[in-house]
């Protein structure tokens, strides 16, 4: 539990990162994920609860005794030291012999391709190089736990996706336990072995990337993970066969749902379908019909925004789709791709 004054930013958080696991804390800004990471590192103290690393309780220890490394969003390199000095700083503090420090720095420089930059100061480096030095400073110590605080958010798009791949490779190579904070769900999906979705200081779901994507546990996770956002239709089910949406649209459920998830009636439900699961079809197969409002052409495929009887839906069509703004569009999906939520929770 963490409180700032009277506002509680983290409440009742409990999770575990297995040895060697890449664990991602995913959530919108202000959800408390960075605070949680700082509590693990010892830069912030919690108002309650404990932190354990390798069975050892560490929440009362100062950061330097926790054997963790932290990669900051702003890199936080020591500006008055060269790259080599930055990398070797922690080893020097621990009184490692000069020869060993030199070897470790050389090894890290080779791993991260920093060999030619060792005598430079941070301000002479590019953003990507600084990021690499920050990474190297963490790796050089061989800590028990790596903590990353949105380390890629200051890089431009190309560099970010390159570094993402590099990070994944690094993890595969080091097999070190890592906790990684991000608000970028693409980063979370590609890097994480375990994703912990946070919102408003509470854990929403813990699972593999596939689980959080394909079986989101509640409306928040369903809406937060995935781009573009999942389509939601809120309404009331009558006799388990018709959904009367808030917008007034009537949806015949006999085709959509082959199971009995909605057989309790009448009751409020939210139906969720991901844009990529919603596709154009012929009039006879259609679940929804509407007018194309806007077509986003991404090259490889197109996202078609459709107004269907007052519901705004996004569907994925193939690239170079013939659909134009104002066209009549018919959409359908597959029953097993339909997510059902009752209240906030997923209905299985």
């Amino acid at each position: 539990m963490k409180k700032f004054g009277a506002t509680s930013v983290l409440e009742d958080i409990s999770f575990e990162a297995a040895d060697g696991e890449f664990c991602v804390l995913l959530g919108p800004s202000g959800c408390g994920k960075t605070t949680l990471l700082r509590i693990i590192a010892g830069l912030e103290s919690a108002n309650g609860g404990t932190v354990h690393i390798d069975e050892q309780r560490v929440d009362l220890l100062p950061p330097r005794d926790r054997d963790v490394a932290f990669v900051f969003q702003n890199y936080a390199l020591y500006p008055h030291m060269t790259v080599a000095e930055n990398l070797g700083f922690s080893l020097r503090l621990r009184g490692a012999p000069q020869k060993e420090i030199k070897e470790r720095i050389a090894e890290i420089a080779r791993l991260l391709e920093l060999g030619s930059q060792l005598d430079r100061k941070p301000q002479q480096l590019s953003g990507g190089q600084r990021q690499r030095v920050a990474l190297g400073r963490a790796i050089v110590r061989q800590p028990k736990l790596f903590l990353f605080d949105e380390p890629l958010s200051n890089l431009d798009a190309t560099l970010r996706s390159n570094m993402r791949v590099e990070l994944a490779r690094l993890h595969a190579r080091l097999r070190a336990t890592m906790v990684y904070v991000t608000h970028d769900q693409a980063e979370a999906m590609t890097l994480g072995e375990k994703i912990i979705v946070l919102n408003r200081g509470q854990i929403q779901q813990i699972g593999t990337p596939a689980e959080t994507y394909h079986r989101p546990g509640n409306l928040f996770v369903a809406g937060f993970v995935g781009q573009p956002q999942m389509n939601f239709i809120q309404g009331r089910v009558i006799d388990g066969s018709v959904l009367v949406a808030k917008s007034g649209m009537n949806l015949d459920l006999t085709r959509i749902l082959l199971d009995d998830r909605l057989k309790v009636s009448p009751i409020d439900f939210t139906i969720g379908i991901r844009p990529e699961d919603l596709r154009p079809c012929s009039r006879s197969e259609a679940w929804f019909s509407g007018i194309a409002d806007f077509v986003e052409d991404l090259g490889s495929d197109c996202f078609v925004h459709v107004m269907a009887n007052g519901e705004k839906l996004i569907a994925r069509a193939a690239g170079r789709t013939p659909i134009r703004r104002g066209d009549e569009v018919f959409l359908h999906s597959e029953p097993e791709r339909v997510h059902i939520f009752h209240g906030d929770k997923r209905v299985e």
Binding site: L43, P62, R64, Y75, Y78, H80, F89, L93
Partner: protein, 270 residues
């Protein structure tokens, strides 16, 4: 045309501020006859008599030593204390820090004359009149609020991330201060130190009332007491004033690079 006007303005302002100093410098090289000549002689005959007289007859060197001791002690002590105080004020989330800083600013605006009496009585009470530590204590009381104010603004601009990185890398709080924070804050610390030093070096009023033994008097007081009952040794005063200014100019030139250096540039983001 614009450039010309700018250069003219610079020249004019420069001349305006430097003229009195220049006049003294020229006077220090004049003979007694040249100093009192009417119409005034501008270009001196470059004699070093006045310097010799100031040193030999008026004991200039010994005033310099006193000033150096007092100003250095004031600077070292107040900058050391102010560094720690400002760091705490800038870093630890203290609710009253804002008000405390306001109070300090208000304190440093007190006119000297208003507290001269109490300070004198206080020093007299503890028997510190006519002593180095007495005058240094009084100077520190004036220098501290100012130094804390300057340094706090400086520390606030240092990114906290860098310190936290040091704490995680294995530093204790002290090590983080010594190895990371102070080196990065060097330009600010030097700026504050030079300003405090200049102030202590030039201070006249407190030195006049606290130090009445000639053996302990500092330069400004010493020079002010050059005139005798029937003599006004302009030449010697000018020579002494020139000598008094040299260390300040030297200090400023020496540390100018450090002051200007924006060490923390490029530390974060990019």
């Amino acid at each position: 045309m614009k450039k010309l006007a700018f250069a003219g303005a610079v020249l004019w302002i420069g001349a305006f501020t430097l003229l009195p100093f220049l006049w003294f410098l020229l006077t220090s090289w004049k003979s007694a006859g040249e100093i009192t000549a009417i119409p005034p002689v501008i270009w001196p005959s470059f004699r070093w008599n006045n310097y010799r007289a100031a040193i030999v007859e008026y004991g200039l060197l010994h005033y310099i030593v006193n000033s150096a001791v007092v100003a250095t002690a004031t600077t070292v002590i107040s900058i050391f204390v102010a560094s720690l105080a400002s760091f705490a004020l800038a870093r630890f989330r203290l609710q009253w820090a804002r008000y405390y800083l306001m109070l300090l600013l208000a304190l440093s605006m007190f006119p000297q004359i208003a507290i001269a009496g109490p300070v004198w009585r206080l020093l007299s009470f503890v028997g510190w009149l006519n002593s180095y530590h007495g005058i240094v204590a009084a100077y520190i009381a004036f220098a501290l609020p100012f130094a804390v104010w300057v340094l706090t603004t400086f520390f606030e601009e240092l990114p906290y991330d860098i310190e936290e990185a040091a704490l995680i890398d294995g530093c204790t709080r002290w090590q983080a201060l010594r190895l990371i924070v102070f080196p990065l804050a060097a330009p600010g610390i030097f700026t504050a130190a030079i300003l405090v030093f200049i102030q202590a070096w030039n201070e006249f009023f407190f030195a006049l009332i606290i130090l009445t033994y000639p053996a302990l008097q500092t330069l400004p007081v010493g020079i002010a007491l050059f005139p005798g009952e029937y003599t006004m040794p302009w030449g010697e005063i000018a020579a002494a004033s020139t000598v008094a200014t040299v260390p300040l100019i030297a200090l400023t030139l020496m540390f100018q690079r450090r002051i200007v250096q924006g060490l923390s540039a490029g530390a974060v983001k990019g």
